[in-house]
Symmetry: C2
Subunit: 545 residues, 2 copies
């Protein structure tokens, strides 16, 4: 007779082993190592809450200190690897297999560990894919999560940085797994309940507050006039042209420039209320002037951003906040909004090839994808219409069955730092795939999903290209003085320009003399603070006054 | 000075008006009409929890009884319209605009109301799209939801039919909206908390338990031998060939037949553990024999199914269940798993055209899409590999950049009831779009997302077709004696068969003499109950013994 409740019984056995190290659900910080050793079994699938921003850093460090003779062969299923301890577990022989989404700061070390055979990679995912697998074949057996506070019953308050917590806990708790939460404080009454105590097995007050990274803060002082020119072209040639109201911006200075000229340039074009009204976006400080100017109706966030708490509380008409006033973010739901409810994704990349494939992969670094491929792809399952989506679909139409199309815009200067060209004949992703034994080259956004490429030379509308040759020349035609750009077929590029497939600033009626830093609604961090009426409180490293 | 917290203040004003009709968060059933009139304002966006299965029927009926002189011009944002009261609000002038996903049983009346100008449709969505818009531009101001029980503080227990509740409540509660829950009982201590009380404004015990529809129950007695043959071909020609482990099945007898021959036919092919191990699926009773045979490792559910509760409780290794033993479903997360974590969607349709576009639309009925287009489309943002996904991608490959591909399979008998052909030159969706003024023909699954078509005549692998002509002939080549099938180019079809693009039962090594009802692991509802060891308790209408 098969036992159909073996996981449940196994969980009970683990909890019984843990009983001496806890009081009810509460575990003392000094006991957490023993508790982890008691509840984790070799071969477990284990999730450490590594979000984009907040980190279960105390639990990650304690896990990495366990005895590999006792706890080994863990299969880590974790969205972001950002702390050294996230890789220490592999180096120390505690974990052996990894399924993940993003490893930005640890990308080079991850590649080395892979090369030395100290870890095996299951697959590299986007966030939503990994979350989906939490409910199919990669459900965590133990999850180490992170919250602002717990009450004595074990209810959790995540505050503004809810991020991945709900999806991790739901998958684990309802498949008889064990959920352990590190919290900054244990209180009698929580400001609000974000995660019910029924879903949580243990809480531990960490010796110091969890680490949090201000990943989405960009100092306006670093925005160049070329970026401002590109932002102007994007607004006039794409936002206005398609009437894009629901959107997501990638991370970086290119899109920060757009955010900062909404209240100036876009306002002067009469676009307030007509573009960029509804966002799936982290609370970018660079968006403050546009919010204050009344451009923005709503922002739903994947996570929060350091220093934005008081501003968000004071702008509850714009942000999703709880009865306590603090924000509720939710990465899974905001990614869903970004995928299906947004008409446009616009972001930057490192390299674009002649088919329009783009990648941030570089040799010797396995950085993963994060959320960009999810939002930077045509949502083929979408069925509801909007002006932007239907117009893009009409432009792309080749077959007899009409359909809509998501706008996916890549925005790059033709040369990056150190004169590295953004346009290349072959992506570095190919070499990385070969050296790291990946199934496919790690492409961030596939060429056939990209609709527009914006550079300082103009906008290429790939939707209107009818052959691979036209597409290649449209890309070459905005690739400037890179060798890809220099090798253009000039006659064909001029023909594409005549047909409106390539548009220069002049074609768009963009006055390049306006492309100065004077166009920025905030030119510095201090300006952002001022725009926020003193509510935005930037982290120390961004304070230079 | 703009008021940046106007929604919060407006909510407070609504709650103040409601204060005389409630005690704390509890509202007496007799007072609910007055409470609704007090908290709803003209023009509000309002969500009635109409799930696929459970229905906030009491609140829907009370809403429909309000005075349209007081409450009018509501904008209903609701995933499923299935009860007459869901349309009564339009007929009575209480609501005027509708954004929705699915209206199955009300599709004809919806078309009439649209025709008479009594409602305007914003757009028709899939579930995930509408959920995404709840967090962007269609956030409900008031939501009327449904749970099994509440405690006195207002915490909710949804039991197995969690469905849409978390996503509706999260969007509404955190944007200063009002959440009203009808519950079957109010208790001192809930079996578990599914929705924290902080997210809920009012609870009302409804006079009778909420309505629930056993939408996914199929009586094995009605499965035909043609369906069994098709199921055999699908298993051998697709499931086994691609090694499909993670999948979603559509609703209907065609896929029920597959579920019921897993423990017989698939077992005989040595496929146990190699296919169909991880599911995003409602708890289909037809899956019981496969679960009992050890085929199935996990099932995550969109919602529950009537009569399956005790079985699910007793199989916690397979289903996602809470500490109380009952299931936790979640439509948003299961749809995410279906989109991104599943290698295959297989389902039926009413019509397929020569490009492979399929639709369930018929003239005079605006039925919407539900979840099929989401799962029945290539997830272009997916980046993690699997055997099935990589193989499908290789077969489809035409460009230089390799990528994976989701398997999207349409399974139809060439003639439906009343000899209506499943293959047509033009979908009825075109006429419906014209008559109802829709932006696009309501296509369920687009032809370029379909990878295989299975009929009793064989399997057409559209991935391998290299031209539109080949694609058309591949479709004609499995379209049997429909006029589309009869008009095939016989030489070209034979060529496609030689190349393995079309495969007949004989080509697949499928022994058609085995295609009898003896192959079904359960031939009746009673067999399903027996297979479940008496744990499955079918609704009365399915009990014929």
């Amino acid at each position: 007779m098969r036992d159909w409740n073996s996981q449940k019984k196994n969980k009970e056995a683990r909890l019984a082993r843990a009983a001496t190290f806890c009081q009810g659900k509460q575990v003392a910080a000094a006991e957490i190592g023993k508790l982890l050793a008691a509840v984790i079994e070799p071969g477990d699938r284990l999730c450490i809450e590594g979000n984009n921003q907040k980190q279960a850093d105390f639990l990650a460090a304690e896990l990495a200190r366990l005895d590999p003779a006792q706890v080994h062969d863990l299969h880590i299923v974790q969205s972001v690897l950002s702390l050294p301890t996230h890789l220490d577990v592999f180096e120390r022989g505690i974990a052996s297999k990894l399924d993940f989404s993003f490893s930005g700061p640890q990308a080079a070390r991850l590649a080395r560990l892979l090369g030395s055979g100290q870890l095996k990679i299951g697959a590299i995912h986007t966030y939503l894919e990994l979350f989906g697998r939490y409910f199919t074949d990669l459900t965590p057996r133990v999850s180490l999560v992170c919250a602002q506070a717990a009450d004595r019953a074990g209810n959790l308050y995540t505050g503004g940085n809810t991020e991945d917590t709900p999806v991790i806990v739901e998958a684990t708790a309802f498949r008889q797994g064990i959920v352990i939460a590190q919290v900054n404080e244990i209180v009698d009454v929580l400001p609000r309940v974000d995660i019910p105590a029924d879903w949580v097995d243990f809480t531990v007050k960490s010796p110091k507050p969890h680490y949090i990274e201000p990943l989405f803060t960009r100092d306006p002082a670093q925005i160049s006039e070329i970026q401002i020119l590109m932002a102007m072209m994007a607004i006039k040639g794409i936002y206005a042209e398609y009437g894009v109201t629901r959107l997501n911006h990638g991370i970086g200075f290119d899109t920060a420039a757009i955010e900062l000229i909404l209240p100036t340039y876009a306002e002067s074009l009469g676009l307030k209320g007509k573009i960029a009204t509804h966002w799936a976006l982290n609370p970018h400080p660079a968006l403050i002037p546009a919010i204050e100017a009344g451009f923005v109706e709503s922002v739903h966030c994947f996570g929060s951003e350091l220093g934005m708490d008081a501003y968000i509380r004071a702008r509850s008409d714009v942000f999703f906040t709880g009865p306590d006033g603090s924000m509720r973010s939710n990465r899974a739901l905001s990614q869903t909004a970004g995928l299906y409810a947004c008409d446009m994704f616009i972001g930057s990349t490192l390299q674009i090839d002649l088919q329009g494939n783009s990648s941030t992969a570089t040799l010797g670094r396995i950085a993963g994808f994060g959320g960009a491929p999810n939002m930077g792809s045509d949502a083929r399952g979408r069925r509801h219409g909007s002006k932007a989506w239907l117009k893009a679909g009409q432009e792309a139409s080749t077959g007899s069955m009409p359909r809509g199309r998501k706008l996916v815009v890549q925005m790059v200067e033709t040369f990056r730092e150190h004169m590295a060209p953004a346009f290349v004949e072959e992506l570095d992703a190919w070499k990385l795939a070969e050296s790291a034994g990946l199934d496919l080259p790690p492409v961030m956004i596939y060429g056939d999903d990209v609709t527009h490429i914006v550079t300082e030379e103009g906008i290429a509308n790939l939707l209107l290209c009818r052959t691979p040759e036209e597409r290649e020349q449209a890309i070459r035609g905005v690739a400037g003085y890179t060798s890809v750009g220099l090798d253009r077929d000039k006659a064909m590029v001029e023909n594409l320009r005549d047909r409106g497939i390539i548009r220069r600033a002049a074609d768009l009626g963009v006055d390049v003399t306006l492309a100065t830093r004077d166009l920025l609604a905030a030119k510095s961090m201090k300006d952002l603070v001022r725009a926020s009426k003193g509510l935005y409180n930037p982290p120390a490293r961004f304070r230079n006054w």
